[in-house]
Amino acid sequence: MNVRIDDRLLKNDSEVRRVGVAISVDHVSRAFDINGRPLAVLHDISLDITAGEFVVIVGASGCGKSTLLRLIAGLDMPNAGAVFVGGSKVVGPGLDRGIVFQDHRLLPWLTAEENVAAALIARGVPKAERLDVARRYLALVGLTGFETAYPSQLSGGMAQRAAIGRALANDPDVLLLDEPLGALDALTRLKLQNEIVRLSAKNPKTIVLVTHDIEEAVFFADRIVVMDAKPGRIRRIIPVDLPRPRDRSSPGFVALRSAVLDEFIDETH
């Protein structure tokens, strides 16, 4: 079965994708038009992400890390190169990729469970079943009891939990997180970081997370991708071999955190 699918891919795509590669960013460039002049945001980026891997992209603001995530999500298209997810070229958004934005983007006129259930509409799942699934995922992210609350009645952290539940509701292979904890207070952020680790251990997925928080990157990542700005390029890829669950105060953690920080300080020189 798998062989046949691979054959078809080989015929249709000139590119041969390696087995076990969930996401392949292949010589991707992206420029935006700023007042009629092109501004290169990403320049010739290539990156392979293994299935089940947790990759964290860090970089100063303007390095194009969010743009890279949006290209993987299919919300934006590259000017050159291509992104492959699960062996297929990305031509637009798809339910194989769940996305969480920095703002929770819950629809204010829907309850928490209706918001999560909305993720299943495009698949034609009947409403009662959608709500069943939604309640399961709300329980998974710790929102039991808030199923019928409107977003305006949820705290920022709870709303972001619901948004994570919505991104997981289709059980996607890939989870894309665009600074998902950036707008939360420090304590809530810490809690949700532990929650994301718990979720990813329970339900392994290929995860790409964008952040500017270096401690968060060391806490989560199998590999940290450090990006340079103007134009956005991959500066270094740092593997993180620390045992899980990670202890933020362990010598290894602290050493790695300052090593990543050094990358940033170097950048300014």
Partner: protein, 252 residues
Amino acid sequence: MQSKGIYLPRGLLLPVAILLAWEVAAHAGRSGGVLIAPLEQIASTAFTLAAGGTMAVDVAATIARVMSGFVLGAVAGLLFGSVIGTSRAADWLASPTFNAVRQVPLTGWIPVAALLFGIGEGAKLSLIALAAFCPVALNTAEGLAGVSQSYRELGRSLNFSGVTSWWRILLPAATPQIFTGLKHGIAFAWIAAIAAELLLTSGPGLGSMIEGGTALFRLDIVMVGVCLIGAFGYAMAVAMERVEARFLRWRN
């Protein structure tokens, strides 16, 4: 600032003062020959009109007119506003004309309606419908066009089709502004109904009732009509706010 000696709610203070002044002026004016009807006469006229059944006929005629005109105009406004608020091509084609048309005050259309439809029901309905149409169309279009990019993007990330996205995201996101349009629409329809009845007098209606009172120099009849117009206008505004509150429960 409130002294404990005053038992009247603050909001009633001014109306009571005005009514008292009116009453004093009416009785003083009587000797001077000015036609200010005293309150007791307005009240007894109201009672007579109500008992005789003509008041109910006039009120029912105006309400029925306003409702049918409003529904016609609001539905047309929702459809037209949806099209120009959704399609850039339609916006490009139709918005300049629409913006020109809605600059003409309603009273400017009354002679046009009279020439096209006479002074009967058709002219009145078309004026009321036009009055409701403009604010509903404008707010529907602006509401839909103004839906934030992040919500549209969410729809894309959930693989919504164009229709699903419109129904599940654009329309609900635009609903608060659509209700602003509907509230203005019902208020303008009410104004249009009274203006049309006053200027195209035919058949029963509150406007005709006032017009009749004016012809007879009966300020009491006119004032009964004015009070009814105010009361029912207020009731319709309140009813519309109730409907809005039901639809927009999520806002609180």
